[in-house]
């Protein structure tokens, strides 16, 4: 077999594997090790804290991946002056990313957190600039257990 033929076959194989990789990337499971959630409340609270910290640092650093990796497959998103409703995790990631792309975060901090219970939540506020104007914004997120994972089921910016 000529070199050229081998190259063609290898090329097609690589292309398909890349494609498949791209497909699989959308189904990437961002799961936190779920075994840690069992039984002990302290561990649960620790995990909840991790989520809240990720969200807080994600918003401050404008890195949506930090936030999006905790989204549930279907999440209620309500963004002031923009979309509101139930969206898939993938869609919600883009919506939140687009939302904070045009709004430059000045500061943000969670001020109230509830680490225990079936629906842990956190609320907080900060400032962003939009079209040169500084605006106050507040965020509310709540978590739920989904297949033994703690995921964000509600993400509100109001």
């Amino acid at each position: 077999m000529r070199l050229i033929e081998i190259k063609l076959i290898v090329y097609i194989a690589c292309a398909v594997l890349l494609w498949e990789g791209a497909i699989l990337s959308q189904e990437k499971d961002f799961s936190i090790s779920t075994n840690q959630f069992d039984k002990k409340t302290e561990k649960i609270q620790k995990q909840v804290s991790i989520v809240f910290n990720d969200v807080e640092s994600g918003i401050v650093s404008n890195n949506v991946d930090f936030v999006a990796k905790h989204f549930s497959r279907q999440i209620y998103v309500s963004l002031r002056g923009a979309e509101s409703g139930y969206f898939s995790m993938n869609q919600a990631t883009y919506l939140v990313e687009n939302y904070f792309t045009v709004r430059k975060i000045i500061n943000f901090k969670f001020t109230t957190t509830k680490l225990s219970g079936e629906v842990p939540y956190a609320t907080g506020g900060g400032y962003f600039t939009l079209k040169g104007k500084q605006e106050l914004f507040q965020v509310y997120i709540s978590l739920s257990k989904n297949d033994s994972r703690l995921v964000i089921t509600q993400f509100n910016v109001y």
Partner: protein
């Protein structure tokens, strides 16, 4: 002119011009960057001046717009006020009949302006449109007047004009036009076409509006106040605009410049890639594929990187809220981006498959993959290919899943037949993906088949290799099912896909094997149809799965134990509701403002933005209810409240309530309102519930909610919520499911995972897809809930498929029309076959009546639906008027004036119909009072209703009304007093029953279009069969004629038909027989003539050398006899001459042999440059001749017989060498373009005369003494048969140039 254009186009696409364009664009890009930088510095330094200039521009722009808006409105109102007829009726009929004024307004509308007529005493006598907010008569002045009137939701520009007849005022005309929406509500029921919306969207500025004659001092310096003055130069309001800031201006400028720069960058990259593509045409196919693919995807990712075109074209199709997927790292983040990516994908797949597997004349190419002696490698490649195909199938399923699950678009909304623009883009994208899949898999399967075939014996049937390929893929499919945890498609679906792929691959392979060239254009409709067949079932199944997922999500919402968000919402809302504005209004004594307080505060609070069902109630310091607003709730108003608690502390709690038989969790809170001195001046109480449960109770009022589309419910089937306790049904929202129905058996056992169970539940013969899930312990011990939806029937599927088939049909017709038009403009015309014409004729003949019928049926069905609705409204208004008169004794005006909203709600609840009651012409009570409180509905009777019911005394009247952009039907019936006079009117709007109406539309569509789907399918099948049957004899005749023209006279025609076509066939057969006889005779004659000619020619040619031979022999014999001295020398000379002549004879024989014998051509890839080099080597021993060789770098590979083409070049080079006398030069050059290679052989020989030139390619013509004159004839024959051309240009004594053009591989 055309030539000029072509030359210009050629210039545009030439390498040189591309280079120039790129340089210009780079300069422009740097200029743009420089401008941005220096402009930024300039603005930074001069911001004060710049901001002042911007403020002035904004102010002037808005004031000009307002003047235009006001004068337009004034002219419309003035036109009414100056009507001669109106003046007359004011003078003559003012005290007699009001009907004439209503009729006048009905026939004199003024666009979007609401009109009111008042008499000279300023009493309203007729109106048209929403009367709210009510106008204070002090504003009706003896001269024209203009001002802004603020209502609950909308503010209006009011224009009043006195109607003057004979110098005295006889009445007033008032026009109201929408000016502003006071609250940030955004749904289809809110008319957002206001004056303020026009400039906020155009100028992209944040704006707030205040009515009044002075501007607020509370505004800080961040606002610009734009004073609005009326035509009397009186201040009527102020628009506050956010001041431009340096940061904001900088960002805006940066975004604008970035968009321009992005476009420059894009064009530069496009030109560079284009330039590279042009070079691609001359390189090897494998590199061409690789480079093309890299270029395609680099270009796509450049678009992603530059955020194009979404940053420039900001329309819904690039909105991530419609669809967004992280697939491919950003190439599918919106419907528009997905579409672009699928176009790139299809182009890429086409480039790969067309160049490697599907290209015409590639029977040799496929040998690339014939690895005859490497069985293991062959097997590995076959196995890898099978895996690739299965991965492709899985990838396709994953893509479909993503397009449904990562999207908020409704793929199965049956209320509209034509999909929205965004959905259309998604559907086109899905089809392109399916088409790419099909093309790719077909190519791979053909390659697999070739590989398998290469490992089989040559005498094996072609089907054997296909069977082996099929078995390998099917085994792979089974293994995928076993090994892959989530294959996305079940085994049956995978096999269905594989069978379709095998079918299409065999077909393409068969075409290529039997017809040499694949008619890819002709096959494209088949590819598209198969793509649709692959796509639609998968889309349907995925959509249904998505619906189920939504229902499961709804289930989790219903049983959610505690919603911290709602608790938080109540806390947050209480803070807002008890804020400074509430304090101010409660402290004031303005009764109207206080009565609207609850609505206004709700509208401005977080509650309206979130859209939950809720109640807001304000109490004064005595604990009296002073303002109430309810949305989606009514029953809780009657609850007792502890007023003391309300006034003392803030409190938030939850409680379970039974509503309509269902347990619903409510979030309740109250808070005192304290003024600045710390004194309690009142309190606010609020309660809300999750909107999700409300959906199932059909009491969700979406009119006042933002984003009304936020719903779980699949629109084509209404959901039923049922609650089971202790194994029996205790509550349900459906009237068709019997109470105490037992919980289906085995639910507990099947719910092992605890997430719920899906079941097909059959109730009274109806099938329901039901999701059973357990209630939370706290909420309802041991209870089960069930959400059911009626199973879609066969008609539903037919309708679903028909909608998309019609969509794709329209799409392809559009594409076909566009392509035909483009080709027509370019001077190309397509002619379709007789069968195609016949097929189209049948389809049109059957579709035309079907479409007319469909249109008529739809119209008829819609008319019937309206009639049916009106009839139902007539019956319902009759029942309600009877009921309220019977229950509350409303027979005189006094009793009606005491009728309340709660009484209204009681009757509405009992009769399951919402309605409104008017006291004379004004609203008295409503079962949905929030609509009137918000002033979304007109509290006055509509013009036509008043005219028909009150003035014309009709017993029932129905009309269509609009709320925002939404239309609905309202039925009216008078309430008649004991003495027969009209005391009021009952109205029932269909507004509150929109979900039922949508369901009816769905059922009607599904019913009608299901039948049309069958008719369409039958029309297509019967049409195709008939067209085939009628056109088959014509096609047979055409094929026979083609065979005859190619010399094949053995034809097989069925002439059993007894019609005209049969006669034609028989006549054709007879003609063929006669033709064959004539041909046989002709061949015989020609053969004889040829032999004679040949014999003559051979004799002549042989005779020439024989003569010197004979003379030489005679001379030798004579010399021998004479015994001459130098006999030996003579012998040498004579024998040499004889041998030379024998050589000539031998060459003559050889040339005849070559000309007569045509060996089978062995086509292969031949590199012309290599062959030329081999040929040149043969002649390089000529010391006096210089060979100048210039080959270009591009590929010059052609498909040819290597020996044949080599002979041709040897012939030409030999001629060139022989033409040179003494010293000379032979120049040989090659140059390749997109699809041809050009070979030029130039000599500095004696040249060819014009006379010789005319006969140069004739056989037997030669200027040489030793040749047969067949060399160039053979060369031309060879070049012609390869599809090339040969041109000879020569000048006597200067030289000859032979120019050959051959098509590249």
């Amino acid at each position: 002119m055309l030539l000029d254009r072509i030359s210009f186009f050629k210039f545009l696409v030439s390498h040189k011009s591309v280079f120039i364009f790129v340089i210009i664009l780079v300069i422009l890009l740097f200029a743009s960057l420089g401008y941005e930088y220096f402009h930024g510095i300039y603005v930074d330094k001069n911001w004060k001046t710049k901001s002042y200039q911007l403020e002035q521009e904004l102010t002037l722009s808005i004031q000009t717009k307002f003047e235009t808006y006001e004068s337009e409105t004034f002219r419309s109102v003035e036109k009414i006020g100056q009507s001669r007829f109106l003046k007359e009726i004011f003078t003559k009929h003012q005290d007699t009949s009001r009907a004439i004024f209503f009729e006048f307004l009905l026939s004199n509308t003024a666009g979007d302006i609401t009109l009111e007529l008042s008499d000279r005493d300023k009493r309203t006598i007729s109106w048209m449109g929403n009367r709210r907010p009510i106008l204070d008569t002090v504003n009706l002045l003896p001269e024209r007047n203009s001002f802004i009137l603020e209502g609950a939701i909308y503010s209006y520009l009011i224009i009043s004009i006195p109607i003057i007849d004979n110098h005295s005022i006889v009445g007033y005309v008032v026009g109201k036009r929408l000016f502003d929406v006071n609250y940030p509500l955004n749904n289809r029921f809110i008319n957002s076409n206001t004056f303020t919306s026009t400039f906020t969207s155009l100028l992209d500025v944040g704006a707030e509006f205040e009515v009044g004659q002075s501007h607020s001092s509370l505004r800080d310096t961040n606002w610009i106040s734009v004073l609005l003055k009326n035509f009397n130069n009186k201040l009527i309001g102020v628009i506050y605009l956010q001041k431009p800031t340096l940061l904001g201006y900088g960002e805006e400028s940066h975004q604008t410049m970035q968009s321009i720069n992005n476009i420059f960058i894009l064009i530069i990259i496009s030109l560079l890639i284009y330039s590279l593509f042009r070079r691609l045409t001359t390189i090897n196919v494998v590199y061409k594929i690789i480079i093309a693919t890299i270029c395609i995807w680099i270009f796509r990712y450049v678009l992603v990187w530059l955020n194009l075109p979404s940053s420039v074209i900001q329309i819904g199709v690039f909105d991530a809220s419609k669809f967004a997927s992280p697939f491919g790292y950003g190439i599918a983040k919106s419907p528009g981006d997905l579409f672009l990516s699928t176009v790139f994908l299809l182009v890429n797949i086409f480039v790969i498959t067309f160049n490697s597997f599907l290209r015409p004349n590639t029977s040799q190419n496929i040998r690339y993959f014939s690895i005859y002696n490497q069985k293991i490698l062959s097997f590995l490649i076959i196995a890898l290919s099978a895996v690739l195909i299965l991965l492709f199938i899985r990838g396709f399923a994953a893509t479909i899943r993503s397009t449904v699950f990562d999207s908020t678009l409704s793929y199965n909304n049956p209320t509209t037949v034509i999909p929205s623009f965004e959905l259309s883009i998604m559907l086109i994208s899905l089809l392109l993906i399916a088409l790419s899949l099909l093309l790719a898999v077909t190519g791979i399967m053909i390659m697999m088949n070739t590989l398998v075939k290469s490992q089989l014996k040559e005498n094996q049937s072609p089907l054997t290799s296909w069977i082996i390929v099929s078995v390998i893929i099917m085994i792979g499919s089974i293994l995928v099912g076993i090994l892959q945890p989530n294959p996305l498609l079940n085994q049956t679906a995978r096999l269905f896909f594989i069978l379709i792929f095998i079918g299409i691959s065999v077909l393409v392979w068969w075409f290529r094997e039997n017809k040499r060239n694949i008619p890819i254009i002709k096959l494209s409709p088949l590819f598209v149809i198969i793509s649709i067949i692959l796509l639609l079932p998968l889309l349907d199944v995925t959509t249904q799965n998505s619906d189920r997922t939504h229902i499961e999500l709804l289930a989790t919402e219903i049983v959610r134990p505690e919603d911290s968000w709602l608790t938080f919402l109540v806390n947050k809302a209480l803070d807002e509701l008890s804020g400074s504005e509430s304090q101010m209004i409660l402290s004031s004594e303005n009764a109207y403002d206080i009565s609207k307080l609850a609505f206004m505060q709700w509208a401005n609070s977080i509650l309206s933005k979130q859209g939950n069902n809720c109640s807001v109630i304000y109490f004064n310091k005595k604990g009296e209810n002073v303002s109430t607003f309810n949305i989606g709730t009514t029953s809780e108003l009657k609850r007792e409240r502890n007023v003391d608690s309300l006034l003392r502390i803030k409190n938030v709690y939850t409680e379970d309530r039974i509503q309509n038989g269902m347990t619903v969790k409510w979030y309740v809170g109250y808070s005192p309102i304290i003024d600045e001195q710390g004194i309690v001046i009142g309190s606010v109480h609020m309660e809300l519930t999750s909107g999700k449960q409300a959906i199932l109770r059909s009491d969700a009022s979406e009119f006042l909610r933002n984003h009304a589309g936020d719903t779980f419910e699949p629109t084509y089937k209404s959901l039923i919520l049922s609650e089971y306790a202790q194994g029996k049904l205790i509550n349900t929202t459906s009237e068709e499911i019997p109470i105490e129905r037992p919980l289906p058996l085995g639910i507990e056992e099947r719910n092992l995972g605890g997430n719920g169970v899906w079941l097909i539940d059959v109730i009274d013969g109806k099938k329901y897809e039901t999701y059973f899930f357990k209630g939370q312990q706290k909420q309802s011990t041991g209870s089960w809930f069930a959400i059911s939806m009626e199973s879609p029937g066969t008609r539903w599927y037919l309708y679903f498929y028909l909608r998309y088939l019609v969509f794709y049909l329209i799409l392809f017709l559009l594409i076909a029309v566009i392509i035909t038009l483009i080709q027509f403009i370019r001077g190309k015309h397509y002619y379709s076959s007789f069968r195609t014409k016949l097929l189209w004729a049948f389809i049109f003949a059957s579709l035309a009546p079907l479409l007319i019928l469909a249109y008529n049926n739809r119209q008829y069905a819609m008319d019937r639906a309206v009639e049916s609705t009106i009839k139902r409204l007539s019956d319902q208004t009759f029942i309600i008027t009877s009921e309220i008169q019977k229950r509350y004794g409303i027979n005189v005006p006094v009793t009606l004036s005491q009728f309340t909203d709660n009484q209204c709600s009681e009757v509405a609840g009992d009769l399951n119909t919402d309605f409104n009651v008017y006291y004379f012409s004004t609203i008295q009570a409503s079962s949905k009072p929030e609509m009137f409180e918000a002033e979304l509905l007109d509290p006055s009777l509509s013009t036509e209703a008043y005219l028909n019911i009150v003035l014309k005394r009709k017993t029932f009247f129905a009309e269509t009304q609009m709320i925002g952009n939404f239309s609905y039907i309202v039925g009216y019936r008078p309430l008649i007093s004991e003495n027969g006079s009209i005391i009021g009117v009952v109205s029932i709007p269909t507004l509150y029953r929109q979900s039922e109406i949508d369901e009816e539309i769905t059922k009607r569509n599904v019913y009608l279009y299901g039948a049309y789907a069958i008719s369409l399918g039958l029309s297509l099948i019967i049409g195709t069969l008939m067209a085939n049957r009628i056109s088959s004899p014509i096609r047979r005749l055409r094929n026979a004629a083609q065979n005859i023209s190619s010399g094949q006279l053995e034809i097989d025609l069925d002439s059993k038909r007894q019609d005209e076509v049969g006669e034609l066939e028989r006549a054709f057969i007879q003609m063929t027989h006669d033709l064959k006889a004539a041909q046989d005779q002709m061949i015989k004659t020609q053969r004889e003539t040829a032999w004679k000619e040949m014999a003559k020619q051979v004799a002549h040619e042989i005779k020439n050398p024989l003569t010197p031979m004979k003379l030489s022999v005679q001379h030798l014999r004579q010399a021998y006899k004479d015994g001459i001295k130098n006999f030996e020398e003579l012998l040498q000379r004579v024998t040499r001459t004889i041998l030379e002549q024998i050589e000539v004879l031998s060459r003559i024989a050889s040339e005849f042999s070559h000309y007569a014998r045509m060996p089978e051509r062995k086509l292969e890839e031949v590199d012309i440059q290599l062959v030329l080099q081999e040929a040149i080597i043969l002649f390089q021993q000529h010391e006096n001749i210089l060979f100048d060789i210039k080959f270009d770098n591009a590929s010059s590979v052609v498909i040819a017989d290597k020996e044949e083409i080599r002979r041709a070049f040897i012939n030409i080079i030999r001629n060139a060498v022989q033409a040179i006398e003494g010293k000379g030069k032979v120049s040989i050059t090659t140059k390749s373009d997109i699809d041809i290679t050009e070979i030029s052989i130039n000599d500095t020989g004696i040249g060819i005369s014009e006379e010789t030139m005319n006969r140069i390619f004739e056989p037997n013509f030669s200027t040489k003494t030793d040749g047969m004159g067949l060399g160039l004839a053979l060369v031309k024959k060879t070049i012609d048969e390869l599809g090339g051309t040969i041109i000879i240009d020569s000048k006597v004594a200067k030289g000859t140039t032979v120019m050959i053009r051959l098509p590249l591989r």
